[in-house]
Symmetry: C3
C-alpha cells in the first residue's frame, strides 16, 4: 500500500507544472554578474603575478615547484569537480543540478576565497602576488562550501547556495586563522579546519533553514540503481585521489611520504571495514550503497590531522577502520535520531562522513602528540612540531602537553564557530527574496534546467507506469 | 500536437529495419587495414628510437624530461579519449558511436600525423628518431580532427570520418607551418593553429557535404537527462585538465607557471559567466545544458594564444568571461541563423566553442603584443618573443607592431586555409562510395554496432510508450 | 519466439523473491573482520616506517623518489579502481556488484600481499619497513586477483571471491619468485607473471567450480546500451593509463622512456586493428562492443614483457596489431569452442584479453632476446639484461640463448602453476559453506545490495513491458 501511495504522490509531483513565478529568474545572474564585475575590478587594481625570475637558478626553482605542486593540484581538481560532483548525483532526478551546482560553487567560492585571503594575508604595498600555491589554498577554502552543501542538497535554490558560500568562506578563514595561526594546531590534511568546520556549518544552516518541517520521505529522494552507480564511481574517484589532498601541503621528503602511506593505509582499511560494518548492520547481510559510498572515505577524513606525524603504520590502519565503523553506525542510527529528536535534516549524511570521523581524527591527534612527546628515543620532535624542539626530554614533554591541549581547543573552536556561523547563515537564507523552492518541487532538475522531462527517464517509481498511464489518457 | 507527431516519426525510424546494403561492410576494414600495413612498412624502414644515452648525465636528463612531460601527456590523453569522448555522447542513441569514433579517429590521426611530421620535419639521414615530444606534437595535430568532427557528428559514416582525417592532417600541418614557422605567430596553446583551424575546417566540410538539406529537427537529436549528464561529466573532465593542454609546450619556469595560472583563471571566470549568460538568455531563467557543456570551456579556448604572455591576471579573467558570453550568445542566436541563412549545420556548435572564442583569443593576442611592446618598464620582452629583444625602446616598439600584424595574419591564414581545405574535403566526402548514411538512419548506434535495440533504453520519446505499444501488438 | 520465451524467463527470475536462507549473512563480515583484526596485529608487531632521514640530502632523495613514483602509482590506482571496475559493469543488472567487488578485492588482496611479501622478502630483525614501493608491489599482486575474477564474474559469492584471493596471492608470489628470481625472466610489465598467470588461474577456478553446468544463455547477461557504454568508458580509462602500469618499475631514463613509447605505439596499433578485425568478422561489418572493450587493450598486455627492451618501434606496432587480432579471434571463435568442448566458462573472456596476448608477448620476448644477442653493433646488452654483459660477442650470444630459454620456461611455469593452483582453488570454492548463489539468482545486484528493484531500470528485456504488466495486475 505504501508503495502505491508513494507512486500517486510521485505522479502528482510530476504532473504539476512548475509555475514560472516560483523562481525569480533574474536574481541568480544579477548576483553572479555583480560578483564577477567586482572580481574583475579587484584583480585590475591589486593582483599581479610574481616578477619574472631574473636568473636561471630562480627559473629552475619555479619550474621545480610547479612540477611538484601541479600534479597534486590536478588530482584535487579531479576530486572536487568530478569525484565529489558524481558522489552527489545519487538523487535520481537531481543529478544534473548536483553536478552543476557543485561546479558553480567551487568556482565561486574559490574566487571569493582568493579575494579575501589576498586582502587578509598577502596584501603588500597595495599588491597581491598570485601563484599556484595561493590558488591551492583558496581551493581548500572552497572545499568547505562543497561539503556543507551536502546537508541541504536538493532543497535550496542556487541563490541560497551562493549566499551560503558568501558567508561560509569568511567564517572559515577566521576559524582557520584562529586554529592554525593562533593555536598552532597541527592539521595538514584539514580534518579539523575543513571537515569538522564544514560539517557543523552545514548542519547549522540546515537546522536554521528547515527548522520545523517534518515531512514523509520524498519519493524523488530514493536512489535508483543507475544513480547509485554514478555516485559510487564518484566515491571511487575521491578514494583514489585522497592521498594527494592530504599530502599536498606536507613538507617534501619523509613527512610527505609518510602522509601518503598513512592515507593509503587508512583508506584501504576503511574500505574493508565499511563492508564488515554495513553487512553486520543491515537485514540479510546485504550491503547498503549509501554506506559504501561514504564509509569508504571516512578513513581519509580522519587521517588528515595525523597523516604526517611520526606514528606507527598500525595507527593509520586502526584509525581508518574505526572511522568507517563510526560512519556506518552514524548512517544506520544517528541520522534518523537527529531527524526525530532535533528535527535536523542531513541529506547526504555529512555528519557521518565528515563530522564523526573528523572528531575521531582530532582525538587521535591528541593521542599522537602525547605519545610522541613521551617517546624521546625514536622519532624526532621536529617531525611533529613546526616550532621544533631542542631535544631535551622535559621541554618535549611540556611541548606535548601544550600541543595536545591546543589540538583539543582547535576542535572546540571549529565546532563552536561553525555551528554559530551556520545557524546565522541559515537564518539569513530563510529570507523570502532568496526563493527557496517549495518542498514539492525539490529534488528535481527541471526547476533549474531546460532538460527533457524526466518522467521519461527511469525514475524510482517506474517510468514505464507513468508512460503507460500517459498513453492511456492519450488514446 | 508537435510532440505526438514527433513520436510517430520516432516510431517509424525505430521500426524500419536497417537494410544491409546501405553500409558497404568491407570499406572500413579495408581502408584501416591498408593504413596499418603501410604504417608498419614506414616504421620498419625509417623510424628508430634515440640512441641510448651513453653517460649517466644524459640518462638523468632523459629521466627528467620524461617526468616533466609525461604527466602532462597523460592529462591530455584523458582529455581527448575520455573527456571529449563523453562530451560528444549527448545524442541519446549515438553515445557508443561518438565515443568509439572519437577514439578511433584519435589513434588514426595521431599515427598519420606521426608519419607526415616525420617525413616533413624530422627526416635525417633516412631515419626518424621517435620520442615522447614527437608523439605529443602528433597528438596535437589529431586534436584538430576530433574538433572538426563535431560539426557533422552523427551524420557521417566512419569511412567518411577517416577520409576527412586523412585530408585534415596535411592541411593542418601546412597551415601550422605557415603560421608558426613562417609568420612566427605566438600561439602556445593552439588557439589559432588548432581551435580556429579545426572549427572552420569542420564548418567547410559540413557546408559542402550537406549543402541543400533543410530538414526538421531529427527526433533522435534531443538529448535525454542521462545523456546530458554524461556529456557534462565529459565537460568537467576537459575543464579540469585544460591547463595541462595549454601549458605542456611552454618554457619550464615562469612562462609555464603563468600559463597554468592564466588558464585556471580564464576557465574559472568562464564557468561562472556561462551561468550568468545562459540564465539571462533563457526563458524563466533556467539554464540550458548545452550552454553549460560548452560555455565552461570557452575560456580555455581563448586563453591558449596569450597564456604564457606577460599580461596581468585581470586580462585572463576578462578574456575568460568574454569568451563564455560570446559562446553562449552563439548557441542562442548564431547557430540557428547560420542554419537558416547559410544552410550550415553545426551539430555540436563547434563554431561557438572553438571559432568565436578562438577569434577573440587571437584579437587578445594582438592587443597583448601591442601593450607589451609599449610597456618598457615592466616585463621583459623576451617573455613574449622567442626572438627576444635587445631592450631598446624603438626596437621593441617595432617588434610589437610587426608581431601584432603577424598574429592577425596568422588568424587570417588559419580561417582561409581551413575553409578552403574543408570545402574541398567535404566535396570529396560526398562521393557515393563512402556511403553516407541516409538521414533517417542517422544518430543511431545500431547502424554501426551490434548492440541491444535502443528502443528499450530510455530515449527522448518515452521508451515506456513504445514498449507498451509493442506489448499491445503482441497481446 | 525465442525473444518471448526469454522474456518470460526474465520475468520469472525477477519475480521470484530471494529466499533469505540462500545467503549466509554472517560469513562475509566474519571473514573480513577476522582478517582486519589479524592485519592490525601483524602491523602492530612488525611493520614500521623507514627511519626519518637524518640529512638534507636524504630528504631530497626521498622527495625525488616520491615525485617519481607517486604519479605513476595514482595512475595505476585509477586504472584498477575506476577503469577496471567500470569495464566489468557490462552486465546490466550486476554493475554495482562488479564495481564494489572489484574495489573490495583490490583492498583485500593488496593487504594480504603486503603481509605475505613482508614476511617473505622484507623481514629484517623482526621488522618490516614500509614504503611506497612495497605498496606498489603489493598492488601488482592484487591485480592478478582482479583479472582472475573475470572468469567467474557474476556467478560467485563475495565469500568465494575472497577465498579465491586468499589462495591466489600466495600462489602468485611463489610463481613470481620462481619466474623472476630463480629463472631471471625479464618481464617489466608483468605480461607473464601477472597476465598469463592470472588468466589460467581464473580459468582453472572456473573449470573446477562450474564443471558440468551447460545451460542456455542467461537473460541477465546480455549487455544493454548503457551498460556497454559504461564498460567502454572503463576500457578507455585503462587504455589511457596503461603506459604508467608498464613503465612504473622500469629503470629511470632511456629504458622507461622506451617502455612508455612502446606501450603507446602498441596500444594505438591495437585499437585500430581491433576495429579492422571486428568489422571483418561480424555480420554486416558492424562492430561488436565486446571486441572493442577488450581488443583495444590486448596490445598493452602483450607489450609488457618487451616494453623496455631495445627493439625497433615497428616491433611494438606489430605486436600491438597482432595481439588485437588474436584477441578478437578468440572472442569470435575460441570462447564458444572452449565452452562447447571443455565446458569451460569464461565470463569476461579473460583468456582472449590476458591469456592469448600474454603468450604472444612471451613469444615476442624470446625473439627479442635472441635478436638482441646477435646484434652486437647496436644497443648495449645491459639494456636488456640486468645481469649485464661484458660486451664480448660470444658471451652475449650465449647469454641470449640462455635468456631466451628462461623466458620460455617462465611462460611454462606461469601456465602450469596457475592452472594447478586454480583447479585446486576452484575445488575448494565448491564447498557448500561458501554459498555459491543458485544459477537463477546470478548476475543480479539485488542478491548482495539493498538497491531499488532493478525491474524499473532499463534492463535488456524491456522494463516498459514489465512495468506495464505490473500495472495491468494492479488495475
Amino acid at each position: 500500500m505504501r508503495v502505491r501511495s508513494q507512486r500517486l504522490h510521485m505522479l502528482c509531483y510530476t504532473m504539476m507544472a512548475v509555475p514560472s513565478s516560483t523562481y525569480p529568474r533574474h536574481l541568480l545572474p544579477l548576483f553572479l554578474g555583480l560578483f564577477q564585475g567586482a572580481l574583475l575590478l579587484f584583480f585590475a587594481l591589486f593582483v599581479i603575478y610574481e616578477e619574472p625570475s631574473a636568473q636561471a637558478e630562480d627559473t629552475n626553482l619555479v619550474a621545480k615547484q610547479v612540477y611538484r605542486t601541479f600534479p597534486f593540484f590536478q588530482d584535487i581538481q579531479v576530486m572536487l569537480v568530478v569525484g565529489l560532483g558524481l558522489l552527489l548525483t545519487f538523487l535520481p532526478r537531481y543529478g544534473f543540478s548536483a553536478l552543476t551546482h557543485n561546479f558553480l560553487l567551487l568556482n565561486f567560492s574559490m574566487q571569493w576565497a582568493l579575494v579575501l585571503q589576498g586582502l587578509l594575508h598577502h596584501f603588500h604595498h597595495g599588491q597581491i602576488h598570485l601563484d599556484l600555491h595561493k590558488l591551492l589554498i583558496s581551493e581548500f577554502a572552497a572545499v568547505t562550501v562543497l561539503i556543507s552543501v551536502g546537508a541541504i542538497l536538493g532543497r535550496a535554490s542556487p541563490c541560497q547556495l551562493l549566499i551560503m558560500a558568501t558567508c561560509e568562506i569568511p567564517s572559515y578563514l577566521a576559524s582557520e586563522w584562529v586554529i592554525v595561526t593562533c593555536l598552532g594546531v597541527l592539521d595538514v590534511g584539514g580534518t579539523i579546519t575543513i571537515h569538522v568546520f564544514s560539517c557543523y556549518f552545514g548542519l547549522g544552516v540546515s537546522k536554521a533553514l528547515f527548522k520545523a518541517t517534518q515531512q514523509p520521505l520524498h519519493p524523488k529522494k530514493t536512489p535508483t540503481t543507475s544513480s547509485d552507480l554514478m555516485s559510487l564511481v564518484g566515491t571511487l574517484i575521491l578514494w583514489v585521489f585522497w592521498p594527494s589532498f592530504v599530502a599536498v601541503l606536507c613538507q617534501p621528503g619523509d613527512a610527505q611520504h609518510r602522509a601518503i602511506l598513512n592515507t593509503l593505509l587508512a583508506m584501504s582499511a576503511g574500505a574493508i571495514t565499511t563492508v564488515v560494518a554495513s553487512s553486520l548492520l543491515e537485514r540479510d547481510g546485504k550491503l547498503s550503497p549509501g554506506h559504501l559510498q561514504n564509509g569508504s572515505l571516512a578513513g581519509g577524513v580522519a587521517i588528515g590531522v595525523v597523516a604526517d606525524m611520526a606514528m606507527p603504520p598500525v595507527a593509520a590502519l586502526a584509525l581508518g577502520s574505526l572511522s568507517a565503523v563510526v560512519c556506518v553506525l552514524g548512517f544506520r542510527f544517528l541520522t534518523a535520531l537527529l531527524r526525530r529528536k532535533l528535527a535536523l535534516h542531513d541529506q547526504c549524511g555529512i555528519h557521518n562522513l565528515h563530522g564523526l570521523p573528523g572528531i575521531l581524527g582530532a582525538a587521535a591527534s591528541v593521542a599522537a602528540v602525547l605519545v610522541a612527546s613521551e617517546d624521546t628515543s625514536g622519532s624526532q620532535p621536529s617531525q611533529l612540531s613546526p616550532a621544533g624542539g631542542n631535544g631535551s626530554e622535559v621541554v618535549q614533554g611540556r611541548w606535548g602537553g601544550r600541543q595536545a591541549l591546543c589540538q583539543a581547543a582547535g576542535l572546540a573552536v571549529a565546532i563552536g564557530a561553525s555551528l554559530l556561523a551556520g545557524l546565522l547563515t541559515g537564518a539569513a537564507l530563510g529570507l523570502p527574496c532568496l526563493a527557496r523552492p517549495p518542498e514539492r518541487l525539490c529534488f528535481d532538475d527541471s526547476l533549474y534546467f531546460k532538460i527533457q522531462d524526466q518522467a521519461e527517464s527511469p525514475g524510482p517509481d517506474s517510468s514505464a507506469e507513468e508512460g503507460a498511464l500517459a498513453l492511456k489518457e492519450q488514446v
